[in-house]
């Protein structure tokens, strides 16, 4: 069934808290599968060109089309959620150990992280505060004594 590699990719996200190594190979597989589904679509359409309004052909094309959409959704969600987690990590652990983490990231993600760091740093400077510091007050702060 189409979309199984894509589903496994998303499951990998679900079963991990932060960031596992970037799964380049799965994304590659998904891309190849999507391309071959596209070929099936074009061959089906060209084969049944005059019967395109028949439900038999429509159902087939719909199956292929949904599979392409599914692959796309899973891959995009994978990429998007990883970026989201990276940002969350940056806020939780400010002095992030860039070198070690970046082993798990793709090149583009590393680029994203460094740009995000810079952006955040500029903003914090302009505000004058380190916004990623912990925000809750010390326990004894408001004691009257």
């Amino acid at each position: 069934m189409f979309g199984s590699v894509a589903a496994d990719l998303v499951r990998e996200l679900k079963n991990s808290k932060w960031l596992l190594p970037f799964n380049e190979s799965s994304l590659h597989t998904i891309a190849i599968e999507t391309r071959s589904i596209m070929e099936m679509i074009t061959s089906t359409v060209s084969e049944f060109r005059e019967k395109l309004d028949q439900p038999e052909v429509l159902a087939t094309v719909m199956v292929f089309h949904r599979s392409v959409q599914r692959n796309k959704r899973c891959a995009l969600a994978y990429l998007y959620k990883r970026l989201e987690r990276m940002r969350q990590m940056r806020w939780e652990y400010s002095s992030i150990n860039f070198a070690e983490l970046s082993n798990n990231l793709s090149i583009h993600e590393r680029d994203y992280l460094s740009k995000y760091n810079r952006l955040l740093g500029e903003y914090c400077e302009s505000v004058g505060l380190d916004l990623t510091a912990v925000c809750t007050p010390r326990p004894g702060l408001w004691n009257s004594a």
Binding site: M1, G3, A7, V10, R11, L13, K14, S16, K17, W18, L19, L20, E39, M40, S43, T44, F48, P55, E56, V57, L58, A59, T60, M62, V63, R66, S67, R70, R73, C74, L76, A77, Y80, K81, M89, W91, E92, Y93, S94, S95, I96, N97, E100, L101, N104, D130, T132, A133, V134, C135, T136, P137, R138, P139, G140
Partner: protein, 242 residues
């Protein structure tokens, strides 16, 4: 979990749509013969209508004769697979089944874990029903299916059952023992309820800490644990002593 359940990027939404639904094709779809897994891949042999791979839902509606009569023996390549005969039963993931069903290319059957027995159990004693071995996305999928199949009774039962179970989850969270207690308590819950359970547990723990004046101090952002990006399976949230 996102509040809006139609979020494109939501992981749980995506995984919920992976659940398999048994569908009956209303049209003889061209070239989709490979969907039918009970046939062998060459589509040449006539299989005696065995449907071991497909799950039944307890209703004796399957007709076993139409299974394999007409397949074009067009060779072994996937691209030139044979047609899918009408009334073939196939297990399709929900993301595919829903679209096909809306267009009436396919008829969906309610999965086995929404059948009459489970409904009665949910009606009578919702808290005791073990959902984790039925489906990880019992309620979400159930609501979607009940809307699609216009099954108001199912929606009603799910709603009431979910409400009752949520009350129990919120009540009992935070009172269980540490890891072992969690395991026992969460055994019957589906994934959404588990998430709720963990939320409430953390909430209660945080409240307890606040009462004991263990809240975080102001300071620079917490120094990260040695390797924060590695998975820690024991702790849902990394907690750090002040």
């Amino acid at each position: 979990m996102a509040g809006t359940d139609r979020d494109y990027y939501d992981i749980d939404d995506i995984l919920m749509a992976e659940e398999n639904i048994v569908c009956t094709f209303n049209v003889a779809a061209k070239r989709l013969g490979f969907l039918d897994q009970s046939a062998d891949s060459s589509h040449r042999d006539v299989v005696d209508g065995e449907e071991d791979n497909l799950s039944d839902d307890g209703e004796d509606e399957e007709e076993e004769e139409e299974e394999e009569e007409v397949t074009e023996s067009n060779g072994l390549e996937r691209q030139v697979a044979g047609d899918l005969p009408v009334d073939t039963k196939v297990e399709l993931p929900y993301w595919l089944a829903e679209t096909l069903a809306r267009r009436k290319f396919v008829m969906m059957q309610l999965p086995r874990h929404y059948n009459a027995k489970v409904r009665n159990d949910l009606r009578a004693g919702p808290v005791a029903v073990n959902l984790s071995d039925r489906s990880a996305y019992f309620f979400e999928l159930g609501f979607r299916l009940s809307a699609l199949l216009i099954d108001d009774e199912l929606a009603e039962i799910l709603r009431k059952g979910y409400a009752a179970r949520c009350w129990r989850v919120v009540d009992s969270a935070g009172w269980e023992g540490k890891v072992k207690g969690l395991m026992v308590a969460m055994k019957k819950l589906d994934s959404r309820e588990r998430h709720l359970y963990m939320l409430v547990t953390n909430l209660i723990n945080a409240y307890g800490k606040w009462k004991e004046r263990c809240a975080e101090r102001i300071g620079s952002a917490r120094k990260h644990r040695k390797r924060p990006y590695e998975e820690s399976t024991r702790h849902y949230h990394a907690t750090r002593r002040p």
